[in-house]
């Protein structure tokens, strides 16, 4: 856990990761690394396996092959909540709010079960309350704190989804299409939130179809096509890659 150890290797190292659904190969032999502090854009056509990759890395699904190191620690065999507590967080592409709980309680779940479950952390009730308000403020939902998720619009639901992932105080955050269906100004808003989180030290992987957002946010791009990683590099270079152009942008 020392700083030296952290600096030595990448934050996330994936090697040979494969996932099948029955006979269908959703991910094949994925290798990738993510360094601390990076802002990575993960792009690819619909059905290329982006969400499946996030699901495997966060423990929602089990990959059949390959291994994952997080901060040098093997994650294989750990279930989702254990990975969350280690510092991996994700938003779901289709928001999954706790629909019988108001927004504050939606955020109290990760605060009590993740942040407070880490050794050396114990937020008091007042701390938890303050943190909830802060998180809701960050996504402009503070005035709906006591509402149920069903009172939210689709856009607000996405913001809640993001806030709930951020509430776990992750080291690595996967934002799975946090901006789908948002207006350009709302996209700017979310990008600003993500940039601020990144400045606070959270490494972020952004999965997004809105290219303008991806290009303005990412320091590196990963491209998945049909379950395979076909490109990995600086955004401008990746976009000039003929294979990417053909497989992804040419569709």
């Amino acid at each position: 856990m020392s700083a030296a150890q952290t600096a030595a290797g990448p934050l996330l190292a994936v090697s040979g990761l494969g996932k099948r659904f029955g006979g269908f190969v959703a991910l094949e032999n994925i290798d990738l690394t993510i360094a601390e502090g990076e802002r990575v854009g993960l792009i690819g056509p619909n059905g290329s396996g982006k969400s499946t990759l996030v699901n495997c890395l966060c423990g929602t699904l089990r990959n059949e092959t390959g291994s994952v190191l997080f901060d040098g620690r093997p994650l294989d065999g750990l279930i989702a909540h254990e990975r969350t507590r280690l510092g991996l967080a994700r938003s779901f592409q289709l928001p999954k709010p706790f629909h019988t709980l108001n927004l504050i309680d939606n955020l109290r779940v990760p605060l009590l079960y993740t942040v407070n479950a880490r050794p050396g952390h114990s937020l008091s009730d007042a701390d938890v309350r303050a943190r909830c308000e802060e998180l809701l403020q960050a996504v402009a939902l503070a005035d709906k704190a006591r509402r149920l998720p069903r009172d939210l619009t689709q856009v607000e639901m996405r913001k809640l989804e993001l806030a709930r992932a951020v509430a776990t105080e992750p080291r690595l955050l996967f934002a799975d299409e946090a901006m789908a269906g948002l207006s350009p100004s709302e996209v700017e808003e979310i990008i600003a939130v993500l940039l601020r989180l990144n400045q606070q030290g959270i490494t972020i992987v952004l999965i997004e179809h809105i290219m303008r957002a991806v290009m303005s946010f990412s320091t590196r791009l990963l491209v998945l096509v049909a379950g395979q990683k076909i490109a990995d590099g600086l955004p401008q270079e990746v976009m000039r890659n003929p294979e990417v152009e053909r497989a992804y942008l040419g569709e």
Binding site: T60, T84, A89, F98, H99, L101, D105, V109, A165, A167
Partner: protein
């Protein structure tokens, strides 16, 4: 109200009811009927800890209840059994039987949870039904506790706490009701209850939020099973003739699902309301018409509520409160806009 304060208040209310009823009711039948209603408060509260809070529907109440009842039957016969080995022990007091029944049922709850909680939704419900069949088969074939013939239990001549034995059973069941309601209310307000609610709403999202869902579900099945077993433990002394027919009655499984549904599943109040209403109607029907009517009554009420008020009586009340709050909020906004 803090949990400690609530516990004291609930205990005082329970005590007051016991004292007053024991002073003013001389008819033993009242206590026979009230015992059943209280037993249903415990059963439906216990059922709701798993079914209402975590969303896992259990049709196996009868099994947990019977395990409590039969563990008491075993303890009842224990001194005689040990005597044949020249070990002399006094008769086991009923409160001890209740604790043992709770522990045994709790362990069975834990085991069942381990085997079945990976099953989602309707498959879990079917598995609990299967559990009932397995436990019933075991008991029907277990000769020591009477097998399918059943077993006679002779009540101790002297009832503790003065009064008749049925008054004693009634008082114990009141204590169990107070305890289970306090546990349910404590869960609701604790981190545990928040985790249960997260599981009920979306298990994948709960895991992603750090909730150890399997462990929490095991806690729920254990607690729920233990309380059901405790409710069943005094049964041999209540019926004095215990047989698989009386302890595995379908009514236990159906009622303990129906009562929270009728009362409302999201709070501890719902199961109490459901148990008091349904239990009282059933007891009245048993006296005035026939006990054969009881299942029909549950069936009709259940259908009515599922159609008209799927969130139960508590759901109706909170919907009304929400509507009123919305009207007030709108009025405030209008006034602000006007100003």
């Amino acid at each position: 109200m803090r949990t400690g304060t609530f516990l004291i208040a609930a205990a005082l209310v329970g005590l007051a009811i016991v004292v007053l009823t024991r002073i003013f009711f001389t008819n033993e039948y009242f206590f026979f009927a009230a015992y059943v209603v209280l037993q249903y408060i415990v059963l439906s509260t216990a059922w709701n800890i798993l079914g209402g809070y975590t969303g896992y529907i259990n049709f196996g109440t009868g099994a947990f209840f019977a395990i409590g009842a039969y563990s008491s039957a075993v303890l009842h016969k224990l001194p005689a059994l040990l005597k044949t080995f020249d070990i002399l022990i006094p008769a086991v007091p009923l409160p001890v039987m209740i604790v043992v029944g709770g522990i045994v049922s709790g362990i069975v709850g834990l085991g069942t949870g381990y085997l079945t909680l990976r099953l989602r939704g309707v498959f879990f419900a079917i598995a609990t039904l299967a559990l009932s069949v397995v436990v019933q088969t075991l008991i029907v074939n277990w000769d020591y506790v009477g097998g399918s013939r059943g077993i006679y239990i002779i009540r101790p001549a002297q009832a503790p706490l003065g009064g008749g034995y049925i008054q004693y059973l009634y008082t114990l069941m009141m204590a169990l009701s107070v305890i289970s309601v306090c546990i349910a209310r404590w869960i609701e307000r604790s981190r545990l209850g928040l985790g249960f609610a997260a599981i009920r709403d979306d298990e994948l999202a709960a895991e992603a939020g750090g909730v150890p869902t399997l462990r929490l579900k095991l806690i729920a099945t254990t607690l729920s099973g233990a309380l059901m077993g405790m409710a069943g433990a005094p049964l041999p002394y209540y019926v004095t003739y215990l047989d698989p027919g009386s302890s595995f009655n379908l009514a236990y499984a159906v009622n303990s699902v129906a009562m929270p549904v009728i009362g409302g599943m999201t709070s501890w109040v719902g199961p109490i309301i459901g148990a008091v209403i349904l239990g009282t109607i059933q007891q009245l029907a048993t006296v005035t018409i026939s006990s054969a009517l009881n299942l029909l009554i549950v069936g009709v009420l259940l259908i009515l509520f599922v159609i008209i008020a799927p969130n139960g009586i508590m759901g109706l009340i909170s919907a009304r409160q929400r509507r009123r709050a919305a009207i007030i909020e709108a009025a405030v906004q209008q006034r602000q806009a006007a100003a």
